[in-house]
């Protein structure tokens, strides 16, 4: 599974992305975030305020119950501030 991080999530994690293989029972966006918090203290800190984290699955905005699968591109980022 390809993880991408943007804006302050990238800064806090110290990387723009990583390849991770969550266990098979991680089936939704919410479960993925729960699992990510266990990966490292930096992940736990970056995801502490869950309301400030938006998720896209394969480049589409995704709700917490959206399914995630092994080949997916999952991006984590704060609410957008463009334009």
């Amino acid at each position: 599974m390809k993880l991408l991080y943007f804006a302050w999530l990238r800064s806090k994690l110290g990387k723009a992305g990583e390849e991770l293989n969550p266990p098979a029972d991680v089936a939704t966006v919410a479960q993925l975030l729960d699992w990510l918090e266990t990966v490292s203290p930096a992940h736990k800190a970056a995801l502490a305020d869950r309301r400030a984290v938006r998720v896209a699955v394969n480049q589409d905005y995704a709700a917490p119950d959206h399914p995630v699968r092994p080949g997916d591109e999952i991006a984590l980022f704060p609410p957008v501030t463009g334009g």
Binding site: F6, Q59, A75, F77, P78, P79, V80, T81, G82, G83
Partner: protein, 150 residues
């Protein structure tokens, strides 16, 4: 047309291209967003605009397609810059051409409102005190909310 680029753009040339050789366009509305020196964070020395390559183009194309569904548009243009920008520099150009002026004006406003809340861009502001990621504005969400269908 959707374009993402580091470089500045020529507003006059971009707009002229939309209407050149056509006689079916009655109104051309446009909006240019620029970097302001004064922000809530204080005096800005620079701003860096980060985006999500791939998803940004996809979302902008979807927003433009939605505008074309809602209004009778002859053409639509979105040019959005990314990277480090100084105060006074152009950030974004949105332009809509239609046979009717209200369609051009309304769809231009719709595109910039949606772009602000839907397109994956993030602003990092630099001031004398350091760098800070800009927090999303509730007023931007409200502006976009107006266009949501019941």
């Amino acid at each position: 047309m959707i374009r993402l680029q580091r470089e500045d753009f020529d507003v006059g040339a971009e707009l002229d291209r939309l209407t050149a050789g056509r006689t079916d366009i009655g109104g051309l509305a446009s909006f240019v967003g620029l970097v302001r020196a004064r922000t809530e964070a204080g005096a800005l020395t620079a701003m860096t605009l980060e985006h999500y390559p791939g998803m940004t183009e996809k979302r902008l194309a979807e927003i433009a397609a939605e505008a074309a569904r809602r209004w009778p548009l002859a053409d639509t243009l979105i040019v959005h810059r990314y990277g480090r920008l100084s105060p006074g520099e152009r950030i974004v150009l949105v332009a809509t051409a239609s046979s009717h002026r209200q369609a051009a004006l309304e769809s231009c406003q719709f595109l910039i409102d949606w772009l602000k809340t839907q397109a994956p861009f993030w602003k990092l502001e630099e001031t004398a005190a350091g760098s800070q990621w800009v927090a999303a504005r509730v007023t931007d969400d409200r502006a976009a909310e107006r266009w949501r269908k019941p």
